[in-house]
Amino acid sequence: MNFDFLLIVFVARYLRTALKNTQQNSVWDDRLKLAMYVAIALFVASVIFRDAETIMAWVGHLCLLGCIYILYKETFFKPAKSLIVAILPYAVVATIIQFLQLVLPSFYRGNHSMVDSLKGFAVLWGIGVWMVTIKQKKELDKTNEKVVQQEHDNRIITAMKDELEVQVAERTAELTRQKEALETALQELQSTQAQLIQSEKMASLGELTAGIAHEIQNPLNFVNNFSEVSNELIGEMNEELSKGDIAEAMMIADDIRQNLEKINHHGKRADAIVKGMLQHSRSSNSIKEPTDINKLADEYFRLAYHGLRARDKSFNATLKTDYDETIGNIIIIPQDIGRVILNLITNAFYVVDEKRKFGIEGYEPTVFVSTKKRIDKVLISVEDNGNGIPQSIVDKIFQPFFTTKPSGQGTGLGLSMSYDIVTQGHGGTIKVETAVGKGTTFIISLPI
């Protein structure tokens, strides 16, 4: 039995499996396969031809040494270098023993137990090295496996990171879009609010226009009438003078002077109305200035009344006033407070007219405007004898866009704007007292 061939078969088989995964293995794989078969064939031959044992032994040794040489020479087998360490001692020892048997048979026979044990050591050495190599290889495989696993994990982490970055970018873009959309919406809302405030001003100006026309027409008529009559009176005065009736002429002259005062008075009245109108529509230049609150309230009271009258012939109401003449001038923004008073008065007229339409016997629509001076404040109240405000909505009347008027008739901003003007603009308060069926009183309190 020839151990060398088995060793070659074993080595070839090991190399084929161990180097399976490296490149250019196809050429060496075929060669190793061939070597394996040849070795098996030679092993079978060595079993069959027992007589040629010595020759077969020599062939085995030389083949093994040749194999070791190839392993040593070929860089392809570099990873399997440890095999050389494992099998070389055996191959050398076995060859030397064979050589001793041939050249010095007597020496071999004399020392064959020692020589054989040397061979045994070589075999043990080979087995030992082999086992160590296997162990090392296993550990190396394990480490490699770990590295591969780690690389795999890293790749997954990188992929996830990339995906996450894409998601973050998408979310950021979406948030930016949303932010831009919100900003646009906010801008639109702000411009709409400005437009609404402007349209509320225009609406109240519309309420005033007819009243303004009436209020300007009346003083103008007086200016014209008084100047005409004065002209006539001068003619009469001259007549009296030529007749020599100086007393009568002087009486006429007194009348003329009185008329000139009237002309002046009505001219100023028209002037004040035009100024008030300009002030009402002007949005900028909101400066606090000393203002006669009684005059302001009365002006808007009349304007609101005649404005409504001009637009609705059937409308009528009794106007009552009670102004506290001790107030004097107070520091306010006249057009703003004027707007508040106008709004309250217009509302009052609206509710008394609504009640009038029910046709209650003996009902006299009445709106009462009054001012009062307290120690540290001035009160302006607008009272109506309408139907009052139900408790369920009294809390809502100062909210923007709340209106009880049919759609299209009220902006719902009047009281809300009034509230802002009084509280924020003037540090005052606006209060409502109401009794269902009896009427409502709005009381503005302004600090002085």
Binding site: Q217, N221, L233, Q258, N259, K262, N316, A317
Partner: protein
């Protein structure tokens, strides 16, 4: 002839008194003034049949000229006083309403006193 002028503008009194200065002085015409519809009715109640002619503005707070016209035409049948209504220029709506309520004549604002004097002369 006694004329009741109804207008919420108080300066109307001065104006009429000066415009009809000669007539008043000569005793041809007598003017009474009321500054609201309610005042006018109160005057008529106290001085029935005195006023031959009533000149009334339409646009007044409280009782309007139209309300007054309606009440006068219902209450004072014999002899019915002549009621002239003063309407604002181009106010067709009030004009028609006053006509339906039985107004005898119309004047437009601003008052043309020459025209008014001629009308008063024909009534006289």
């Amino acid at each position: 002839m006694k004329i009741l002028v109804v207008d919420d503008e108080q300066d109307v009194q001065v104006l009429f008194e000066q415009r009809f200065r000669k007539e008043i002085k000569a005793g041809e015409m007598q003017f009474v003034f009321a500054f609201s519809g309610e005042n006018a009715l109160a005057y008529l109640n106290q001085h029935e049949h005195e006023a031959v002619l009533i000149l009334s503005d339409i646009n007044m707070p409280g009782m309007s000229g139209l309300d007054l016209l309606e009440k006068i035409k219902k209450t004072y049948v014999k002899p019915p006083p002549i009621v002239m209504m003063i309407t604002a220029y181009g106010d067709a709506e009030n004009f028609n309403m006053a006509k339906n309520l039985g107004a005898d004549d119309f004047l437009t604002k601003p008052l043309d006193f020459t025209l008014l004097k001629e009308k008063l002369k024909t009534i006289n």
